[in-house]
Symmetry: C2
Subunit: 334 residues, 2 copies
Amino acid sequence: MRAKHVSISPAIDGQEIFALLREDLAAIEREFGRDTVSHVEAITEIGEYLRRGGGKRIRPMLLLLSSRLFDYQGRGAIKLGAVVEIIHTATLVHDDIIDEAQIRRGRPAANTQWGNSKCVLAGDWLYMQAFKIAVEERNFRILDTLIDLTQQMVEGELLQMEKLGQLISLDQYFDLICRKTACLFSVCMRVGAILGGATPEQEQNLAQYGRNLGMAFQIVDDVLDLTASEDVLGKPVASDLREGKVTMAVIHALERCAPEEREKIGAVIRDRAFNGVSHGDILAILKHHRSIDAAHQRAMQYATLARNAICNFPNVEAKRVLLWAPDFVVDRVK
Amino acid sequence: MRAKHVSISPAIDGQEIFALLREDLAAIEREFGRDTVSHVEAITEIGEYLRRGGGKRIRPMLLLLSSRLFDYQGRGAIKLGAVVEIIHTATLVHDDIIDEAQIRRGRPAANTQWGNSKCVLAGDWLYMQAFKIAVEERNFRILDTLIDLTQQMVEGELLQMEKLGQLISLDQYFDLICRKTACLFSVCMRVGAILGGATPEQEQNLAQYGRNLGMAFQIVDDVLDLTASEDVLGKPVASDLREGKVTMAVIHALERCAPEEREKIGAVIRDRAFNGVSHGDILAILKHHRSIDAAHQRAMQYATLARNAICNFPNVEAKRVLLWAPDFVVDRVK
């Protein structure tokens, strides 16, 4: 991958961005709240629990920013901002059942509170609700895009399941994180572009931006899972290894390490537990091969590709935020 | 409920109907097969397993017949026939996970073969695939109808879960079977009507037909669960009672029986097992209060309502089949 550097617009800081998006994000939050009310109490309860669990709302933000590049003023970005967050939430509920997750965002995972059965149905309901609201926009291209996306994500989760406990290649890893994260980021940008009336080329560039940002985001997420503390993560450290998931830094180390190091990593992945090999042992191996740095480097390359993809858009405020976001994503510590 | 009798057109038999629908049903089967192929092998495998498991294909048949009342000739009825069967299949996969079903249609349930996690995802994928094909029809009313339906069904399953092991009322029972079965039957008729360009009144009548037929169908299904043999059912007898589900005949008996009889039924529902009370004991109670007959009677009333709902349609072949179907549904033994 070759990533040329582009000049960055004057810096923008978190507060400015918050001010810029505050009203719309609050509207999306209200829309999300309204959208997840059902006659069936358990659904409303689970929906409320998930919504209050927070999350960075990065996906609706991307959709908003993308639409703002075209000075889009309609309510579609609010409604579809809620839609992408609801789809994201539905995937999390089903993924947590599959991963037997105990904790999500620092709280008990919904499946531990309501049981798997209700959470399967709540996830189904959320998917349908997302599509119900999306259909109200009466835009077939948006529906095609969202449905395609959801299938990609579901397929990605299944592929990941099949690869648990295996030492996958870097290409397999990139395919998985693309389906898991980058596809949705890309769709958020694309939907904003469709709402804004983008040309096919503009839409393509924005989708590229989202895809590359998503790749950077997930690589960093996976590094943080290895390096950050439980307090910061809101879940146990090295959850991925404990679930038998091999991520970028680990793959990098595996491609370079000595047989005895390989055996240590392999044991954790196989056992899905730290038996006789500590988390510190694994970190030492990763540091020795500069694997954490290598993952960061790759994330930075994706970040640069993201910025490059939007270099031709006029220099409006939304663009400044979009140029800033990749650095934020790569440099974040949580 | 008052159900006046309407004169029935000359009888039609199973073979004639098969001849009438054979080509279209074969086309739907091919469409279903094509629609459930994914890059991810596990999805294709599960989809194929489910499709080959059979089922009566009564839902696509209804959709076809409804569209034929209007002499609809397009390919939409084939595609949407597959869609309603795929939605039905997706609900079954998730329901079987929830009910911890061992057997479905005489074969091991998919969850026992692939595990719950893969089946959660396969169900998600099937839902999305159904909507993907439905979106291709480029008809928003059909999408609204299908999405609404799916939510109703998911909510119904959740309501049923919450009522497991409880002695529900007849009204609660009718609400549950409406969501579980009658809504989908109704939607099949409605979608056929929309394709055929029905007037709002015609669409309403056909939806009524489907709803009433579905109610009759599920009441009889629930009676057969109590009375038929395992060979005929393709699953253990009295599965509903074993799962803590109270159905029409049982509710009828509970409203009339002596305290000691009530205690026996209550024990099975509570324990979700026949401990000290046999299946024969329960059947004896139901027979004593003519509860099986009462359920059949109610099914026949719904069947009559179904026939009445379409009395004003011109006397084409599809109408003859639709007039015949309610009797078939009520009189079937499997």
